[in-house]
Amino acid sequence: MSIRKLPVLVMIVSLLLVSATIWAGGQNEADGAQADGSAPIKIGVAAPITGNWAEYGLGFEVATAMAAEEINAAGGINGRSVELVVMDSKGDAKEATAIARQFSDDDDILAVVGDFSSTCCMAAAPIYEEAGLVQISPTASNPNYAGLNEYMFGVMGVQSAEGPFVGEYLLGNYVGAERVAVVYLNNDWGVAAKTFLIETAKEIGIDVVAEENHVDGEKDFTALLTKIQQSNPDTICLVTFYNECAIIANQVAQMNWDVQLTALGPGASEQIIELGGANVEGFLTSTPFFATNDGVSRASAFKTDFESRAGFTLNVHSACAYDALNMVAEAMRNSDVLSRESVRDELAGMKGFEGVTGPIEFQPAGDIVRKYLIVGIEDGKWVQMTDYSYAE
């Protein structure tokens, strides 16, 4: 602790910084050598491959890899193959920005798919904007995300569409609910979704008798359920992830409480059936896309393929990641002169894209208005209850 150590300290720091620079710089130069016409096109993928959200990040990794392989097997993009550069953001916004800088610095990278959480996407957004690089997030659902700048796209679907759909058609028309209790996940997506849902529900005369939130990772809902039971709802609407839906269904069953369970958001996830068993019979949810393993539709083939590769069941997030990458590829195919800017323009102007999660067309802000299905669980299987035209 004497003055002697101060210069030593500064020395060490600067040495390390400089050596890191040289190391990183050397790496980049090596990369830069092969930017000719036949070289692969690079697309960045940022996802939480480690850490608490690894469940979703790993799904991204598998889905985007599948999409890239299929593109390459079909001859690539105008003769050039696609190469993914996958980076782990750990769900940490600081890492996400570092990745954003790395992608921005690498001139070969023409678009980025990711990240999982809105926080990561939004922290990285200004960097991508500066670099003129598209970030197309399969999942970011903060209502402010896509509008941040013109390079941000989201394929999750805006909550101003799904919330009202669930409120009017699932709860109102389909279930005929009169007294609804809403349980929502306290994050950006959950709050936005439940706000729209409740607004619509009230408009069409449904009585929203209780409103409770929970934090991410919550496991014990008994207190919350006991509380909303007091207001005697006939239907509970869950605005949360599939794991939580199953746990809530189990706890409702344990309470011997006979109440209709509906949900917004979890999608037709097999996880719900796996975790909930008999307790989720009659469970209803909205979903932008529905696939079974019958192999008939494209979505279904994708689902089977995904599950055999990933070793876990498909969720809507991974399906969106698959579509996101395919959209980027489509935009690249459509470009006359391929550049970061052309990818953005083509994405923004893309018409009639059919993904496994349904038709996707961006609004001016860069997000999409999806159409939804109602699906439910019957005899331990997901069954489609309505088709896309139900809401028309």
Binding site: A223, L224, Q230, Q271, E274, F312
Partner: protein, 301 residues
């Protein structure tokens, strides 16, 4: 009735915390070090049962035994890696080592077990112990317990009593207590401190494993990242209970459960603040009794 039911909910959830806290208290008492690996031990216990059910079929008692053994064995590794060298060193060293260990186990588990949430078989499904029931204005109110909740509460009580008896009546237990109270004095009277510490940690981790299985069964879900919250709650319960006091830890756990559930019950849209209630309770408890609510001896730093 509503208050009573929420109280029952609190006790049930608290008994899960208590179950986790018992093992932690034992580890803390014997090793004398804070650990952040305990949550991961709980997780490993739960996953060992998951694979046990797949391989050997649904036998609850045997799976608990399996969880105990697996967690205990991991406890030995944790002990060798994180504690043994650092027993006499400042505490933060082993604390950081356990943080590293926790990171290591958790992320390895994500790779090995897969990152998705898994279910355990449902035991005692749909069977309720309805204590009272009434209907007011069409609202059904009931006071009920599920059998699983009963199992958990009974396990907590049995384990606390068994462990207390074990510590007070058996030779090994006496040695554990001696080491827990004064390592050097214990060495002077001929206790093999090294092995006893290892054994204590091993048993403590074993209890963590059992807690993990019951936790998994109770919520019917296990996931490699489940350890973080679990470990934190166990730690809080142990601190409230006076660190190395087994019964205190159990009561600490239950009281945290009650406080959380009553908080949710009475604060509008207050479920998101669950941990706030728990930690405020903890802080207030510590301000009133700086050594924990049930501590008998003065804590060491």
């Amino acid at each position: 009735m509503y208050v009573l039911q929420q109280l029952v909910n609190g006790i049930c959830q608290g008994s899960i915390y208590a179950l986790m806290a018992i093992g932690y208290a034992l580890i803390f008492g014997v090793v004398g070090l804070v650990t952040f690996t305990y949550g991961e031990i709980i997780m490993l216990g739960a996953f060992s049962a998951f694979y046990y059910f797949i391989v050997f079929g649904d036998n609850l008692i045997l799976s608990l035994l399996c969880g105990f053994v697996v967690a205990g064995l991991v406890g030995i590794v944790v002990h060798k890696v994180c504690y043994q060298r650092f027993l006499d060193a400042p505490r933060y060293i082993s604390l950081i080592a356990t943080i590293g260990m926790s990171m290591f186990i958790k992320n390895l588990a994500i790779i090995v077990f897969g990152s998705t949430m898994k279910g355990l078989p449902l035991f005692f499904e749909g069977q309720n112990l309805v204590i009272a029931e009434r209907t007011i204005d069409g609202v059904r109110q009931q006071l009920s317990l599920t059998y699983l909740q009963v199992v958990v509460i009974v396990t907590v009580v049995v384990l606390s009593i068994a462990l207390t008896l074990f510590l007070n009546k058996t030779r090994i237990g006496m040695r554990l207590r001696a080491v827990s109270q004064d390592r050097k004095a214990a060495a002077l009277v001929g206790v093999n401190v090294k092995n006893t510490t290892l054994l204590g940690n091993c048993i403590g981790c074993g209890f963590g494993g059992i807690a993990g299985i019951l936790l998994g069964l109770y919520y019917n879900s296990i996931i490699p990242t489940m350890g973080g919250v679990a470990g934190l709650k166990a730690f809080s319960a142990v601190v409230i209970g006076g660190l190395s006091n087994i019964a205190g830890a159990a009561i600490g756990g239950i009281s945290i459960g009650i406080v959380e559930n009553l908080g949710i019950a009475f604060i509008p849209n207050g479920s998101g603040y669950r941990d706030v209630y728990a930690f405020l309770f903890l802080i207030i408890a510590l301000v009133i009794k700086p050594e924990g609510l049930f501590s008998r001896r003065t804590g060491t730093v």
